[in-house]
Amino acid sequence: MKTYVPPKFMIIRDPARCIQCQICVNQCSFDANYYDIEDSEVRNRDENCVGCHRCMTFCPTRAITITKNPLEYRENYNWRSEDIEDIWKQAESGGVLLTGMGNDKGYPIYWDHLLLNASQVTNPSIDPLREPMELVTYLGKKPDRVRIDRDSFDLETELAPQVKLNLPVMFSAMSYGAVSLNVHKSLAQAATEMGILWNTGEGGLHHSLYKYGNNTIVQVASGRFGVHAQYLNVARVVEIKIGQGAKPGIGGHLPAEKVTAEVALTRMIPRGTDALSPAPQHDIYSIEDLAQLVYALKEATNYTKPISVKIAAVHNSAAIASGMVRAGADIIVLDGLRGATGAAPKVIRDNVGIPIELALASVDTRLRQEGIRNQASLVISGGIRNSGDVIKAIALGADAVNIGTAALIALGCHVCQQCHTGKCAWGICTSNLSLTKRINPEIGARRLSNLLRGWSLEIKDMLGGLGINALESLRGNRLHLRGVGLTDTEAEILGVRMAGS
């Protein structure tokens, strides 16, 4: 039997422009460009090309174009090339197909079905260049009521620990080992500069990054990698990771070859061994068990830090979130269907979980109905692409959003979905020391800060248009949203009226 999986892309090299400098060769980590010594010529291996555009970006004479391979199968709406090739690969290997990044299938993106309002005639819009606009957000449990001393006007109510964010955007959990130390450095520096938080993911915190602790969320996940007293206490927030949007219900697997000396030291595991995160947290089989871990972490950090609990958005998220709040979580994080990963079984990534917009709306609604919405902040993640998505999420009821893929794209990621191979040509999702150098943390931090600055300006512009001068006034205010192309049920779950009504 002969199987031939045709190349996805073709590398087209313009011979009139190519100067044989071989930069494409040294930049391609997939060996799709090579130098034929015998013929003294740069050549392609199209079958290796993943469409990451590294060679094209670095070619000093713009001699390279990457194009889709025009090879067509007989048209069949049910049996597309991806379905056919996946079967071939499995017929050969008998294994689980792995992939990286988030769900790339055509499920509805509800952000694109929601539109914002703007002030016209009957209410004035605000010009953010002339008037102050407030994007500051505080995460943490808010009291049911506030008592103030009548004479001194001091606050009598004891507040739970609060975390200040200068804008309602944080960096998603991406572990050291999955991404490189330089990526962690970029995220940590940018978060510190912009007054937000970054998240270690489940792989521990490298000792060189302890100085960024005040802007760091540290994760306690099912593998308990790198968890120790100092790790918990150096952080601003401690997060219990139950699930991840890209792979709800399953654990993690960092292959042994990615466990370098530094990764091993940070994760507190032997060098060159697989880092396996169990699917469940084996001490959490109920809400009561979750409460035990939440309070164990509160004890360990002397009640000085909010405890966050992160779950993947699944069918019963609303009921689960209610339980999480009652278990003492100060922040709950929902990671939606389009949340990404460094490696996951393709079938899980593409078929498990629910869209974050629906999960957010239903959780916010449920917590309000139960009168406990103030007891926890609500953070969402999974596929947030721009400031428009951010402000719509705030209007739907989120306190803040996490960005993972968007942050990596700012660092150079071209979303080629090869994270699981460990060969990332952009030096992001790899622990190959020759490749990790491709991220200069100084440049990375600058680019991430720039992205956040741009989004802040845009959010202020949109708020001004709504006639609002503080993000707090928009939070959960779904009357500022209208739906387009939604069914009645979708509009009902999202809690929005249709455009025109």
């Binding site: 009139a16 422009r17 100067i19 044989q20 400098c21 071989q22 930069i23 040294n26 930049q27 670095f58 000093p60 004479t61 330089n182 030096g427 190959n432 020391l433 020759s434 490749l435 150098k437 491709r438 991220i439 200069n440 100084e442 440049i443």
Partner: protein, 147 residues
């Protein structure tokens, strides 16, 4: 004095510094013409040293007490007393390669076609040397250093 400094941990060995150095020291401004139309491929004044995962570009160190200047038989290589930059006067160079023997960094190269020795001149006339300006990862910086 400004010098090219290398931030080795973020040099990824892409060789773009070499390519732009070649362009700068060719007769053409257009990269394609510089590489395709000149009688011999332009020669880079610096080179990437590599042994994965280590990479760094090595160029003329503009030594305080340069062996090449002392070794030069004809006085073609001189050190500018103000800027400390060492340059070669091609009129005077006789291609004896004594400077190449003397250079402890092995960074002076032969232009065999013209029979001249060539070395980094920090792109005299440019505000920033082209290798620095075109490094995609800011691994090269043009920095003022203490005398």
């Amino acid at each position: 004095m400004k010098r090219v400094l290398v931030n080795e941990p973020v040099c990824m060995g892409c060789h773009l510094c070499e390519v732009y150095c070649q362009l700068q020291h060719s007769k053409h401004e257009d990269m394609v013409k510089a590489f395709k139309r000149e009688p011999s491929r332009p020669i880079a004044r610096l080179r990437i040293e590599e042994k994965e995962p280590l990479f760094f570009p090595l160029g003329c160190q503009q030594c305080e007490e340069p062996y090449c200047v002392n070794a030069c038989l004809t006085g073609a290589i001189t050190k500018n007393s103000d800027t400390g930059v060492i340059t070669t006067d091609e009129e005077k160079c006789i291609g004896c390669w004594t400077c190449i023997l003397a250079c402890p960094f092995g960074i002076i190269r032969q232009d065999l076609l013209r029979h001249k020795s060539i070395k980094c001149d920090l792109c005299q006339g440019l505000e920033t040397p082209t290798c620095v300006a075109n490094c995609p990862n800011e691994a090269l910086t043009y920095t003022t250093i203490e005398d």
